[in-house]
């Protein structure tokens, strides 16, 4: 059995382990809430994470299409980018937890040199996903700052400007 088949076979166990590792980045009682509360509206964070990991895993395993991967990671990073309880490294680190989740679940099989080598290659893919996550994180943070800046400008000048109550020199306040 090659690595890919193995991963396919152990998929659900690996993903469950991965999910647990991700939510354990939150304080203990929060992480338990994220795991246990199955209501997607009462627990949007946990629901978002659990919904995204499976297709993300499939994508890494099969096509490795960057755009699709970005689409799967985006909702998770989007949340973690505004949770100041997490540092930037904590916010993006969850991608790399997949390595641990796989190694935990394939302990025995990894004694096989060939599979072990295949895994090293596979882990390069995970690294790549990590970089995509970094991109998205930065994009989200930039967006937060854009929102901040626009919020400030819009509320102060938007309508006044339209009403002609401020002069044209304020034009650069159009919004970023």
């Amino acid at each position: 059995m090659n690595l890919k088949d193995l991963l396919e076979k152990r998929k659900s166990a690996i993903i469950k382990c991965w999910f647990d590792l991700v939510v354990e980045t939150y304080p203990l009682d929060t992480s338990q809430f994220l795991k246990k509360q199955k209501d997607p509206f009462a627990n949007p964070v946990g629901a978002t994470i659990s919904q995204a990991l499976k297709p993300l895993f499939d994508e890494i395993l099969n096509r490795m299409d960057h755009e699709a991967i970005a689409a799967y990671i985006d909702p998770i990073i989007r949340i973690r980018a505004v949770q100041s309880i997490l540092s930037p490294s904590q916010a993006t680190s969850f991608i790399f937890f997949l390595k641990k989740a796989i190694r935990e679940n394939l302990r025995k099989e990894l004694k096989d040199i060939e599979i072990s080598n295949d895994l090293l290659v596979f882990e390069l893919k995970i690294d790549e996903v990590g970089l995509i996550a970094f991109d998205i994180f930065v994009k989200c943070r930039e967006q937060v700052y854009t929102i901040k800046a626009n919020d400030r400008l819009n509320r102060a000048f938007g309508a006044f400007k339209r009403a002609g109550l401020v002069t044209e020199t304020m034009d650069d306040t159009q919004g970023l």
């Binding site: 203990l28 009682d29 929060t30 338990q32 809430f33 246990k36 199955k38 209501d39 997607p40 009462a42």
Partner: protein, 333 residues
């Protein structure tokens, strides 16, 4: 190890040993059987009354019910008379639901998203169910104990016992309430240990009464079903207490005094602690007031007089600009 519950457990164990050794070792039956119970009842009543009076002493400046249903507005819009009462009658019904059926805990629902994005609602019922079971079985047990203090035993009490021992298991007949009480209180304890959010917010003072009640229930069950304590003696003892002619019959045993002492501790602990929610729930201003502020004025006894910025001052500040903008003014200059 959680220091909070370990401490509480230790405290209860110490209390048990204290009573047991005090009676069996030092022969302090009078202290544990008469003096402490009298003091405990006195502290309970005085403390309870004091706490409630203390709450009542503070006024309710604003009428701020939490509205949980449609308000009374236009005649053709159906109002929710219970969850958002506009009359005293509605408030009474709301309070009855709240106090007898724990309406707010009952509200705890959550929904699940199934395959195909179809929503189903799941009723988060365990806390509500356990709380209800706990309080009602406790009440039943308490009322059942009145048979020791009343002679002759009223018919309604005998009836209650009949219902309670509905399942004819063994002899003496098994009281359902005692079993349910123990089960519910153990559930409430496990909940505090296993649900991390609840563990995080739990204090030693939350575990203490749980251990206390667990111990009271266990000692009670033990006496009734296993050591088969001398009921006649206990009745004599209890009648002595209520008639203010305390006697100490022989052969009641250490376990009985432990049971009695723990109950005394619970009585003393009650008015100083969160257990006062029993009184407070009646007085909670977000529940016991109607949502009719716009129809009937609520009076604040300390309504403060405050400094205002009057229209005249405002016009003085902006008169010229107002005139220029064509706004009417009170004074032209």
């Amino acid at each position: 190890m959680n220091v909070n519950y370990m401490f509480s457990l230790l405290a209860v164990v110490v209390l048990i040993l204290l009573a047991y050794v005090g009676v069996e070792g030092a022969g302090l039956q009078v202290l544990f059987g008469v003096i402490i119970p009298y003091i405990a009842v006195f502290i309970f009543i005085a403390g309870f009354v004091y706490r409630v009076m203390d709450w009542v002493r503070s006024p309710v400046p604003f009428r701020i019910p939490s509205t949980c249903g449609q308000q009374k507005s236009l005649p053709w819009i159906k109002e929710n008379k219970i969850d958002n009462p506009s009359t005293a009658g509605g408030v009474i019904v709301r309070m009855i639901f709240e106090i007898l059926f724990f309406r707010s805990l009952f509200r705890n629902t959550s929904c699940r998203l199934n395959e195909g994005a179809k929503i189903t609602y799941v009723w988060e019922k365990w806390l509500w169910l356990a709380a209800l079971a706990f309080h009602y079985s406790f009440l039943t047990v308490l009322i059942r104990h009145l048979r020791f203090f009343l002679e002759p035993v009223p018919v309604c009490l005998q009836l209650l016992e009949k219902v309670d021992s509905f399942f004819q298991l063994g002899l003496p007949g098994l009281f359902l309430s005692g079993v349910v009480l123990l089960a519910a209180v153990i559930f409430l304890f496990l909940r505090r240990i296993y649900i991390p959010q609840v563990r995080y917010i739990s204090l030693a003072s939350d575990f203490f009464p749980l251990f206390l009640i667990i111990s009271i229930a266990i000692t009670g069950i033990f006496m009734r079903y296993f050591t088969k304590v001398d009921i006649v003696g206990i009745k004599e003892f209890a009648m002595g207490l209520v008639t203010l002619h305390p006697t100490i019959p022989d052969g009641l045993g250490g376990l009985f005094y432990v049971h009695l002492f723990l109950v005394s501790v619970l009585f003393v602990y009650f008015p100083f602690s969160k257990l006062m929610h029993m009184g407070g729930v009646f007085l909670s201003p977000t529940r016991n007031l109607p949502n009719n502020n716009r129809a009937e004025r609520h009076i604040n006894p300390w309504n403060p007089s405050v400094k205002l910025h009057t229209y005249q001052e405002y016009e003085d500040d902006f008169r010229e600009k107002m005139i220029e903008a064509g706004l009417p003014v009170e004074k032209e200059s």
